[in-house]
């Protein structure tokens, strides 16, 4: 698709004056495009007749950069994919490396990974809901959700020293064991989070204006969600019961008891609210993990300093906050991958804007975007 806005021959109205669509360029520098999204929106009056997402403003060539780095050096790169949920890309990448090189991960490391990833899910969903709320004009809600997120970021900081790009999950385990008192901190957080989530639910989703803005907007049918490759809360909001933690169980998820949150109507309201309810389930999983936490090492023993997997390829995926995040690696036997490919859920979800926004008005575009919760670091890579 070309980046130029195509010029169209004007249609003449009854009075002989030309009637044209108003072409509005939304982004890449715009308050509500979740980073550097750009959308070329054709408006007929107030109604969107066409909406083309333009991506690539955050392209850093991460997949290509990976080809010149050793397997351990790639982990920090994966942090920069989904910068709202760095733990997921870490984990998806490490799972693929472990599968490729046949590395066994100790159980304690798996538990730690699940705890940080479920914490990350809450943090990421808080960001998603907060941004969706700010897009509808409820800016105060953004800071309420950030309060919850901040607690998690603080926990991560005490765990691995970083607040945003953690580099925590490494091939063969995790970088640090939990410091003293960390599990107590996590338990204290999960104890409080239910009340905080309930407050958010009534403050934002219970608000009459929010309901008016989100309900019935950008309805995505279950068939379309599957056909467009949507995953995560975007697909589940449409009633697609698809969660890799349940339907392609990995790590220790088969031992956990939790429900897959599924929406009914597939509108923006259901998608956003799905995210909120998933946070309750994540808190449940974290509590179970802490209760079952085994001892032992947090990283695989006898791992070579330079991992050089045998020639071949591997693919593994996990359920990230945005959907099924997959990493495909091809090895030629050298210590550097021959090729890395990331299957980004946000990329597939973002494609839906060109369909969901049509027929709605410009204010609904930001609602559509907010409900898809795109992160452009992951989309552009």
């Amino acid at each position: 698709m070309s980046l130029e806005v195509e010029s169209r021959t004007p249609v003449l109205g009854e009075d002989g004056l030309p009637i044209e669509e108003l072409v509005v360029n939304v982004g890449p520098s715009h308050p509500s495009t979740h980073g550097v999204g750009r959308f070329i929106v054709h408006l007929d009056g107030d109604v969107i007749v066409r909406c083309d997402p333009v991506i690539g403003y955050l392209h850093r060539g991460i997949e290509k950069m990976a080809e010149n780095r050793t397997y351990l050096q790639i982990v920090p790169l994966t942090d920069r994919l989904d910068y709202v949920g760095s733990m997921y890309a870490n984990w998806a990448y490490c799972r693929t490396v472990e599968r490729l090189a046949g590395i066994r991960v100790p159980e304690r490391a798996e538990y730690l990974r699940v705890i940080v990833c479920e914490l990350q899910r809450i943090a990421s969903h808080m960001m998603g809901i907060g941004a969706a709320a700010a897009d509808t004009g409820a800016f105060s809600m953004f800071l309420y959700t950030f309060d919850v997120r901040e607690r998690i970021i603080e926990l991560f900081e005490s765990l691995c020293g970083s607040r945003l790009t953690y580099n925590y999950v490494r091939p063969g385990g995790v970088s640090f064991d939990a410091p003293e008192g960390w599990f107590e901190g996590v338990s204290a957080f999960t104890e409080n989070v239910d009340a905080q989530l309930a407050e958010l639910d009534s403050l934002f989703f219970g608000n009459v204006i929010t309901r008016g803005r989100l309900k019935g907007v950008a309805v995505l049918s279950a068939e379309d969600a599957v056909a467009w490759g949507a995953s995560g809360p975007v697909a589940r909001g449409s009633g697609v019961n698809w969660d890799l933690r349940k339907h392609d169980p990995y790590s220790i998820y088969p031992r956990m008891e939790f429900d897959v949150v599924v929406g009914d109507n597939g509108d923006a309201y259901d998608r956003d609210r799905c995210r909120l309810f998933e946070c309750y389930e994540s808190a449940k999983i974290i509590d179970q993990c802490i209760a079952q936490m085994p001892g032992g090492s947090f990283k695989a023993e006898g791992l070579p300093r330079l991992i050089a997997p045998p020639a071949g390829d591997a693919y593994d995926h996990i359920e990230s906050a945005r959907g099924s995040l997959g990493v495909y690696l091809v090895s030629d036997g050298s210590p550097r991958p021959y090729r890395m490919k990331v299957r980004s859920p946000a990329f597939c979800n973002l494609a839906l804007t060109s369909r969901l926004a049509v027929g709605h008005t410009l204010p609904d575009l930001v609602v559509v975007l907010g409900s898809l919760d795109p992160v452009f670091g992951e989309i552009d890579r």
């Binding site: 360029n25 897009d135 008016g212 803005r213 410009l362 204010p363």
Partner: protein, 316 residues
């Protein structure tokens, strides 16, 4: 000639009142929003951060005044004044004390409701002359919204005029009685909501909708011209709060002298702070929902209020 000088004095006073109101209003807005959002807000410049807005104003005055090359320059420069001056003028007919308004004209209620409507033209021209699609959409939205909300707002005030038997703000203010408060509860609600919408403030700030239109009709304004728009907004809050307090609550609830003045200011302050509070609590509405609210909810409510008042009048 004396009328001219009096006008000059009142005009200057209104300008100063609005400037001070904007200074305090921006500070109050930042403090109120900060408290709602679990923050502190400005607290470094001066006591309680009171001088923060002054510092910002100095910054705004010193900033470059940018006019877009494609803009319609004379219109672009005129638009902020067209928004600001009517708001300042509307302050001149508010009855500040019993029997006294700076301009005591016979039809001052009509003056108060009609003159700020001129700022619709300013909003429209600001949006149009910027040659920016966001600004144009914002301007057109603003015009549609302000015109729609004029009707319920006027109708709600009309109920008071019926009760007082006059369209002079001073007469309405002076004939105010306590039982007007319960009687005009619906009308006051309509007046308050419609005033927020008339001022383009959240949850009805569609014309500036920062998450959709970046800044709406004043997206291309900078420096002091942008500040004039802001002053008009806070001036409008002050005018609507003072007018609401003066007419719906009889100024200081009919209390005499200084006490009445203090109560009057307190009621106006409560109304103004409620407007800030509402903005930072609610999401923004969609244009079509906004129109439905004006025509399907507020206008019928205002009509019901009129009928209620009409029923009471024979037994007054």
């Amino acid at each position: 000639m004396s009328g001219f000088f009096w006008g000059l004095v009142v005009g200057l006073a209104a300008g100063i009142v609005i400037a001070v109101a904007a200074l305090i209003g921006v500070w109050a807005e930042r403090k109120v929003s900060a408290r709602i959002q679990m923050r502190f807000g400005p607290q470094e410049a001066g006591p309680f951060g009171l001088l923060q807005t002054l510092a910002d104003t100095v910054k705004l005055i010193l900033k470059e005044d940018i006019t877009p090359t494609q803009a319609d320059v004379p219109v672009f420069r005129l638009a902020p004044l067209l928004v600001f001056v009517p708001v300042a003028a509307s302050l001149a007919v508010v009855p500040y004390a019993a029997g006294w308004a700076p301009f005591n004209i016979a039809s001052s209620v009509v003056f108060f409701l009609a003159v700020p409507a001129i700022s619709v033209i300013g909003v429209l021209l600001a949006g149009w002359s910027s040659r920016n699609s966001y600004a144009s959409i914002g301007g057109i939205r603003g015009a549609a919204q302000m015109i729609s909300y004029e009707l319920p707002r006027t109708l709600s005030v009309l109920a008071l005029c019926l009760l007082a038997g006059s369209i002079s703000t001073v007469a309405v203010h002076d004939s105010w009685r306590f039982w007007w408060i319960p009687l005009n509860a619906i009308g006051f609600l309509v007046y308050f909501i419609a005033s927020i919408a008339e001022l383009n403030r959240g949850p009805f700030d569609l014309s500036e909708a920062e998450s959709e239109l970046v800044a709406g009709y004043f997206a291309d304004y900078s420096g002091i011209r942008w500040a004039i728009f802001m002053m008009a907004e806070y001036g409008g809050i002050v005018a609507a709060s003072l007018f609401g307090a003066a007419l719906f609550f009889g100024g200081g609830l009919g209390l005499p002298g200084l006490l009445g003045g203090i109560v009057f200011m307190a009621i106006a302050a409560v109304l103004a702070i409620t407007m800030l509070w509402v903005k930072w609590t609610f999401p923004r509405m969609r244009p079509d929902q906004l129109m439905s609210l004006a025509w399907k909810v507020l206008t019928p409510m205002a009509l019901v209020q009129l009928v209620l008042v009409g029923l009471v009048i024979p037994w007054r």
